[in-house]
Structures are given as structure tokens and as C-alpha cells.
């Protein structure tokens, strides 16, 4: 592979390759497709958080003109209807009982949506209510009813050393990490600090709700889905419906936002089962309220205890993170694992003892959401850091600089050492915030910092194919899903650079698992690093073939060959790729095919994490002491990206992540009362709008070309979401002296805290 110091395409502000499609309305999302013979699906959902399903009568619904099929538990007796990539704990349609409000109980396929909707009201279900485990406190109460006595074993994609489904309790997964000796550590500490923080449930709000179309016929199963992990969906469908992988085709049109909410398998098994029964293709287009009851982020309670020397040296840490994983495991076990490592933080601390528990409750299943476990743990950790600094009388910036890991330092045994320059990153953010000058501020205004470092969840398995067609144009076949992050542009840039062709020559189509080679998934900030490596390897394979062919045609040695601007050059002799191809095949056709694999130990180190994803934040806030409202004068985000293949896209990712973080910091919260969701709609659940744009919004990209991906790139786009909450919370504390340990920092909560403080 060519080593590169100067680039023609990588590192440039290349225009988004699908830009024109998206600004003209041509870009097709799943709900924009119509398949011949397609019916509309609607889902009858449980109104109870926990109940036995005593009977389901579909007679009246089935008689309604226009109704083709009504699916219930009676229709899945011939298969094992359970799915789940971590734990197979979730039936595609309710069996004996329902475990959350919104759980599918029956599904209708009809000639149009209105008919399907009406048929739902004719499905008669008798429930018998069961005790509700509304929170993890309920679920963990000794003697609490067990929500999952019937898990069907492990899923195929958990990638955990061991799954600890403590089936006889409501703990879905328990992750424990420890090192050193915390007892001794605390004994050696001068001060010990202990805090408890709360993080709310939040919803991704992908503007495109979940949608899927399924068709089942003699060719097998075909699914068009708004999903980010088509190959995982394929594997789970193959397992449930007992089909070979080759007979399960998953196609992914454009995806209208994912952020983790479309990771793994969601509604696809249900839609396939409905289409199977109907004998016709069926589309299920969910509404936003339905999608709000499909997946969410884990709410958390974080207890954290740290022992410190008088001079500010961290010595020992104990922590326990309780995560509400909802009714089904989804990605909960992995979230727990990450919450555990992420609360350790990027600080030198030799003695730690950390537990994270994903706990089942009767609420909507929680799963992946941009930086799994990160915002919850780091909200606690970075707030706790400032609290300790204040109590120790040490400047929070200095306190962090004193304890931050340097490049090459061990974070925890067996893991990749720190691979970023955190001290200089943090200093850059501080300078932007005018940290020094902030000491003299008046009350009500202040700045705060937070460091967000996460061990990437990225699994290093991707494959890619690059084809050079007879006219010199290139087709890149890669299973990365374009969810808005710009992966198509970046991968095309990587291929074009390696092949020495213009970016316009390279086209990447959307995933069709019958055609596109395997990719683990799109998520965990892995596409540029892992898929990028596979794409670069595929392009390098093609490049080598071009050199060989060129050497033969130009009668030169391969070492003499240079590829440039679509030409093979040997000294003064040159031949265009097109001509070379025609000569090689002896006709104006044929094509060259390059393939690339990335796997542990092959293109990517087998040591985890592949990289430490690094995002820092700084907030400059103004607090209205009359109303409790927090205004953002400035937000500074810093992302250490190794190498920005497309700098403006990196900025866009970081800004979008930070804005989401600002949302869960200031107002986002999905509220449940005894298992009933109170605000599952966009009127009562507010997300950031234009007016939340900070007056000044900076994004700093740090490029040390030190990542494991192509040209030194490493993942980004997730950690931007973790810093806003602690940075803003810390700024609030410095501005007003009020420390709030529960998100969101709504005006009411801030106002009450200010009032309580002044009345003391």
C-alpha cells in the first residue's frame, strides 16, 4: 500500500457524494419505496406495562374488507420467534405476556393504512395485569417477579467474553472490572469523595421513524429497512425463519438518521412474519410516537467514590452504574460493559473496582445510542472531578492536567494504551474558553470543562470490493450504511486516493446483502477506521493489478510504474486505465476486481479498543437567576480524529453530536409514570431547535495521524455527545455555586436549586 504524505483527495473538503440526491428530493428512504402488491401494516400495541395476554380474538378484524392478514402469537408456532443479538429474550410478537407499553401484540396487513388502522380497533385482546417493575429499584427489590424466566440463549453478536444473564434476578447483565486494591487505595487517600448522579431516559429522534418493507416468496426473504446493521438483521432473520443467509436479502435505502436507534434488529422480524402470513409484501411505516416506544437510551444512576491525595493525585475509585435496560436486552449488556470502562475515565488511577448493571424493567427496551454508556458515566465522572477539585481548592483544569493519561500510558491492563495527547487537547479547549480570564467573572456567568474519552466499541471486521469498469469508472461495494454521517463520501475518497482517480469516478451504492460483501455494522464510530481499511485494501489490491497489467503492456518493471490521474505511467510511456483494460481483455469490456478484508490481526490490531475515541468540551454559560434558564454563550468541542478524511464532515458530526448532548443536558427526558410513558410525542418531548444554537460554536479537529485507520484516521462523531452535560453542569456550578446532580438542567430544576441555596 502506498505510504502517503501528500494527498489529492483525502483530507479535502470533498462535496458529499449523495448531496444532489438529498437537496432535490430524489434520495429515497424506505418509506418512499413502493413494491408491487405491497400492503400496509399496522401494529396493535400493549397498553399495559406488564400483563398476561389471556386471549386474542381477531375474528372481527379479519372480516373487515381490505384486511389480508392479522398476525398474532398463533402464527409463529412453527418457528422460534425469539431474537436479540446479545440475548434471545424477545419474541417478535407478544407470546404469553407483554412487558412494556407499546409491545406488539398483533399486526394487521391491509390494502391501505386506513383499513389496517381500523382493523386494529377490532382486534380484541384480554389482558391480566401483573405487578409493574417501573424502575430498576422495583426490579432489584428482593422477591420482585422475574421478567425473563424464558431466555432462549445467547445471540450471535454480543462479543462479550461472557454474558451474565442472571436469569433468576432481573439483572440482564452485570459487568465488573477491577484492578489494584481499592481498600489500600482508599486507606492511602487523604480525602474520599462520594457522589450520586442521575441520567434520564432519552430518545434518539431520528427524523425518519423506523420503517421496513418485507416480502417472502420462493426466493426467500427480502427486506428493505431503515436499519444501520443490515448484516446483523440478515443473520437474525435467517435464524428465526430458518433460512440460509443467501436467501435473506436485506436492502438499505437512505436512512434518515440513526444515532444508534437503528442499530441491530428492531421491527424487521415482525414485518417479515406479517408478510409471510399475508403472502404479499408488507410495509410497516412507524409513527414517531411508535418509534419512541421502540428504542431509547438507558437512564442511569451512577454512584462514584474516589480517593485522592491532598495534592490532587487520584488513588482509588469505586463505582456502580445502574442502567435501566427496559423490557428486553437489545444492546444492554454491551452498554453496561462500556458504562463500566467509561466511568474509569482517562485518568491515572491504579486501584479501581467498578460494577455496571443493565437491569430489566417494564419500560421501552433501551439499546445503542451514540456513545453507549458514555454520556451516563461521563456526566457523573466529569462532574465528580470538578466537585473534588473545588473541595481540594485546586483549579479544575490543573486537577485534570495533573491526572490525565499521557500518550502511551496504560489505561487498564490488556487494553490499548492511551493513543491521544489529552493534555494538549484539554489546553486547547481551555484557551478557546479563556479559562484564565474566567476567574474574574461576575455571578451568573461561568465556564466549565469536560473530557470525554471512550474505548471504542468498534469490531474490526469489514470486507469491501472495488471494481474498475471498462470505461475507467469505479464501483465501490461496501456495506457501510449512509445514515448521514457521510461514510459514502469518505469511503469514495479513500478509494479514489488509492486508485489515483478523480472522486467523481467512484460510485458507492446502498447495501444489498445479496451483492454487497459483509460488514459488521455501521456504528461505534467504526466505518472510517475499519471499513476504510477494508476499502483501502481493496483499492490497493486493484492498484497492484493495474501495475502488473501496466508493466506487461508498457514492457516495464512493476517497480517503474506510477499511477496518476487515471493513467499507468512508466517513464515517458503511459496508458490510461480504460485502454489498459481493453488491451488486457482484448475487448472494450471486462473489469478488474480488488478485494479487501479487515479482521483482527489482519489489517487491524487484535487489541481492544481499536482506538480511544476522544472528544472534549467546554461551555461558557449565562444563567438567568430569575428563571433558572441556562444560555450558552459559547460551546467548544474538540475531536481528536487522527486524520480528517473530510474535515467539514468531521466538524458536522461533532457539532451534531454536541447539539444532541446539549439537548439531554438542558431539556430532553422521556418520562414514565408506573410504566406508562407520559411524553412519547414531539410536542411533549422537545429536541434542540435553531434557538439552542450557542452564540459561538467552535469545533476543533486534532489531527496527529495516529489512528489505526487509513492515513492515520480514527473514529469520531460519538464522543461529541458526552461532554456537553458535564461541561455545562460544571459551568453552572462555577457561575452560581449550585451543583446539580440530575439531568436535565431545566429552568425549573436550576431555579429550585438556586432558591434552595439562597434560603440556606
Amino acid at each position: 500500500m502506498a505510504t502517503k504524505s501528500s494527498f489529492t483527495i483525502v483530507g479535502k473538503a470533498a462535496r458529499r457524494v449523495e448531496g444532489i440526491e438529498k437537496v432535490t428530493g430524489q434520495a429515497k428512504f424506505t418509506v418512499d419505496l413502493t413494491i408491487p402488491g405491497m400492503l400496509e401494516g399496522k401494529v396493535a400495541r400493549s397498553p399495559y406495562p406488564h400483563a398476561l395476554v389471556e386471549s386474542i380474538d381477531t375474528t372481527r378484524a379479519e372480516k373487515l374488507p381490505g384486511v389480508v392478514a392479522v398476525l398474532t402469537r398463533a402464527d409463529v408456532k412453527d418457528i422460534n420467534p425469539y431474537f436479540g443479538h446479545c440475548l434471545r429474550d424477545r419474541p417478535l410478537i407478544a407470546l404469553d405476556r407483554v412487558r412494556y407499553v407499546g409491545e406488539p401484540v398483533a399486526a394487521v396487513a391491509a390494502v391501505d393504512a386506513l383499513t389496517a388502522q381500523e382493523a386494529l380497533s377490532l382486534v380484541e385482546v384480554k389482558y391480566k395485569e401483573l405487578p409493574v417493575m417501573a424502575t430498576f429499584d422495583d426490579s432489584l427489590t428482593p422477591g420482585a417477579p422475574i421478567l425473563h424466566p424464558d431466555i432462549q440463549g445467547e445471540g450471535a453478536y454480543h462479543e462479550l467474553k461472557k454474558l451474565q444473564a442472571e436469569i433468576q434476578t432481573n439483572v440482564c447483565h452485570h459487568e465488573h472490572i477491577e484492578e489494584g486494591d481499592v481498600g489500600t487505595g482508599f486507606a492511602e487517600s487523604d480525602r474520599i469523595f462520594e457522589d450520586v448522579f442521575e441520567f434520564p431516559m432519552v430518545y434518539h429522534y431520528t427524523m425518519e421513524p423506523h420503517a421496513a418493507i418485507a416480502k417472502v416468496d420462493a426466493n426467500g426473504i427480502t427486506v428493505w429497512s431503515s436499519c444501520a446493521h443490515p448484516f446483523v438483521v440478515r443473520a437474525e432473520l435467517a435464524l428465526i425463519f430458518e433460512q440460509p443467509l443467501s436467501k435473506v436479502q436485506v436492502l438499505v435505502p437512505y436512512v434518515g438518521g440513526a444515532y444508534g436507534g437503528k442499530s441491530y434488529t428492531k421491527i424487521e422480524p415482525l414485518v417479515v412474519a406479517l408478510a409471510r402470513k399475508a403472502g404479499q409484501p408488507v410495509r410497516l411505516e412507524q409513527s414517531v410516537p411508535e418509534s419512541m416506544l421502540t428504542n431509547r437510551r438507558h437512564s442511569a444512576r451512577v454512584w462514584i467514590k474516589t480517593g485522592v491525595k491532598r495534592d490532587g493525585t487520584l488513588v482509588a475509585r469505586e463505582a456502580k452504574v445502574l442502567l435501566d435496560t427496559g423490557a428486553y436486552a437489545d444492546n444492554g449488556p454491551r452498554v453496561a460493559r462500556r458504562a463500566a470502562t467509561r466511568i474509569h475515565g482517562p485518568y491515572r488511577i491504579g486501584n479501581y473496582n467498578i460494577d455496571a448493571l443493565a437491569v430489566y424493567t417494564n419500560t421501552c427496551p433501551a439499546g445503542s445510542f451514540r456513545s453507549i454508556g458514555g454520556p451516563q458515566s461521563i456526566w457523573a465522572l466529569e462532574s465528580h472531578m470538578d466537585i473534588m477539585a473545588e473541595q481540594l481548592g485546586i483549579d479544575p483544569l490543573e486537577f485534570r492536567l495533573k491526572n490525565l493519561l499521557k500518550r502511551g500510558d496504560i489505561v487498564k491492563s490488556g487494553a490499548k494504551p492511551m493513543d491521544a495527547d489529552l493534555l494538549s487537547d484539554l489546553k486547547q479547549v481551555a484557551v478557546k474558553l479563556d479559562w484564565k480570564g474566567s476567574a474574574k467573572r461576575r455571578t451568573g456567568s461561568g465556564v466549565g470543562l469536560a473530557v470525554g474519552v471512550t474505548d471504542s466499541e468498534a469490531v474490526p471486521v469489514s470486507t469491501a470490493i472495488v471494481r474498475l469498469l471498462a470505461d475507467g469508472s469505479v464501483v465501490l461495494m461496501s456495506g457501510s450504511t449512509e445514515v448521514g454521517q457521510g461514510t459514502r463520501t469518505v469511503l469514495c475518497q479513500i478509494a479514489a486516493e488509492e486508485l489515483s482517480v478523480a472522486l467523481e469516478k467512484v460510485t458507492m451504492h446502498s447495501t444489498d446483502t445479496n451483492v454487497t460483501p459483509f460488514d459488521r455494522s455501521t456504528g461505534a464510530s467504526r466505518s472510517t477506521t475499519v471499513m476504510g481499511t477494508a476499502v483501502r485494501a481493496a483499492a490497493a489490491d486493484l492498484r497492484a493489478q493495474l501495475i502488473e497489467i501496466g508493466a506487461e503492456i508498457l514492457k516495464a518493471k512493476p517497480e517503474q510504474i506510477v499511477l496518476k490521474d487515471g493513467e499507468i505511467i512508466a517513464g515517458e510511456y503511459r496508458i490510461g486505465y480504460t485502454k489498459a483494460l481493453h488491451t488486457y481483455f482484448g475487448m472494450p469490456g471486462g473489469e478488474l476486481i480488488g478485494r479487501g478484508y479487515c479482521r483482527p490481526g489482519g489489517g487491524m490490531s487484535p487489541i481492544y479498543p481499536l482506538f480511544w475515541e476522544t472528544g472534549l468540551g467546554g461551555a461558557d454559560v449565562e444563567v438567568d437567576v430569575e428563571t433558572g434558564e441556562i444560555k450558552l454563550n459559547r460551546f467548544v468541542g474538540l475531536a481528536d480524529v487522527g486524520k480528517a478524511i473530510n474535515p467539514p464532515q468531521c466538524e458536522g458530526q461533532d457539532e451534531g453530536a454536541a447539539m444532541m448532548g446539549i439537548g439531554h443536558t438542558l431539556f430532553e427526558s422521556l418520562i414514565y409514570d408506573k410504566g406508562q410513558p407520559l411524553n412519547p410525542n414531539l410536542v411533549d418531548y422537545r429536541v434542540p431547535s435553531f434557538r439552542n444554537l450557542p452564540a459561538v460554536f467552535d469545533t476543533i479537529l486534532v489531527e496527529n495521524q495516529d489512528g489505526p485507520g487509513p492515513h492515520g484516521a480514527k473514529g469520531m462523531g460519538e464522543t461529541g455527545i458526552v461532554s456537553p452535560a458535564p461541561a455545562i453542569g460544571n459551568a453552572l456550578a462555577r457561575a452560581t455555586g449550585v451543583r446539580i446532580r440530575e439531568l436535565p438542567l431545566t429552568p425549573e430544576r436550576v431555579w429550585r436549586a438556586l432558591r434552595d441555596k439562597s434560603s440556606k
Partner: protein, 172 residues
């Protein structure tokens, strides 16, 4: 959609004529039909997106006589006699509108789901105010949500397009 399904003999149809993306149209609509469904299902202009369905997000924005409306809550028969523009009608003869160019150039889009509504709302703004301040843009665009970009690059796209349009109209 929740009104329930009428028996065939009870269904009513209202004839309407209106202009859609510059073309005269004459169709029959039912009283409850929403503009978004007519545009998407009958004319196949799927660039108009459905998200919140309750007039909060702006994804379904189309322009009616140049004014942004949420087509998810706009009854189709109300389009009678009006001029409706969807994102598909914005580029002229294959040439992108300066707003479309600017959104691509300045990173004003990611997943693209909010983009059609965003661009149409911005078009309406720039027609009313050729040189809006940052605050005026924020105020006008408040009804269009984007979950991907963090808004900064959308703001910059709108500012850049405003500049291009001003230059075009002053003949520079």
C-alpha cells in the same frame, strides 16, 4: 388517519385544481386527505417527508403561494386555487437553486431527511428578507428541526445562499 374508514357509499370527493411545481393539476380528494399524502402518494413527490406529524418538525414543509406550510396538517382540498411548491420543483432545468448548492457546499445536510423542508423554509425566508441577520434566520427557521447537523452548518448554508442570491439580483 385515525378517523376510521368510511363505507364506499359514504365517501365524498372534492374536485380541486391547483398548481404543483409549476404544472396545473385537477384531482379529486376526500375531505380528510392531507396534502402530504396527496403529494407523496398521488404525485410520487416523495421528497416531502413525514416525521412528527403534528406540525413541530418542519420535515413536511412545502410552499403554498411562497409561504411555508406543514403539509402533514394541511388538508389537501385547501390547496384549491393555490400554487404549491415541493422540493422537486426547486431546481430549474437541471440547475440547482443557490440554496441547494449552498447546502451541499457548506455541509447543511447529513441524513437529508430534514433537508427538503429546511431548504423550502429558507427559500421563503430569503424571498421575504434578502439579507437576514443571524437572529432573523434563527427566528424564522425555528419550526424546522434537524437532528443531525447541530444547525451551525445550516445557518452558514442559508447565509451563503442569501449572499449568492443578492449578488445574482444585483447582477454582480
Amino acid at each position: 388517519m385515525a378517523e376510521g374508514r368510511l363505507k364506499a357509499e359514504d365517501r365524498q370527493f372534492i374536485p380541486i385544481t391547483f398548481t404543483l411545481n409549476g404544472r396545473a393539476q385537477e384531482i379529486q380528494v376526500e375531505p380528510h386527505e392531507l396534502l402530504i399524502d396527496v403529494i407523496r402518494n398521488r404525485f410520487g413527490f416523495t421528497g416531502t417527508k413525514r416525521s412528527c406529524d403534528v406540525q413541530v418538525c418542519g420535515a413536511c414543509t412545502v410552499l403554498v403561494d411562497g409561504q411555508p406550510v406543514s403539509s402533514c396538517t394541511y388538508l389537501a382540498f385547501e390547496a384549491l386555487g393555490h400554487d404549491v411548491l415541493t422540493i422537486e420543483g426547486l431546481a430549474k432545468n437541471g440547475k440547482l437553486h443557490p440554496l441547494q448548492e449552498a447546502f451541499i457546499e457548506h455541509g447543511g445536510l447529513q441524513c437529508g431527511f430534514c433537508t427538503p423542508g429546511m431548504i423550502l423554509a429558507a427559500k421563503s425566508l430569503l424571498e421575504q428578507n434578502a439579507n437576514p441577520t443571524r437572529e432573523e434566520i434563527i427566528h424564522f427557521m425555528e419550526g424546522n428541526i434537524c437532528r443531525c447537523t447541530g444547525y451551525k452548518k445550516i445557518l452558514e448554508s442559508i447565509q451563503a445562499a442569501a449572499k449568492t442570491l443578492r449578488q445574482q439580483s444585483s447582477g454582480v
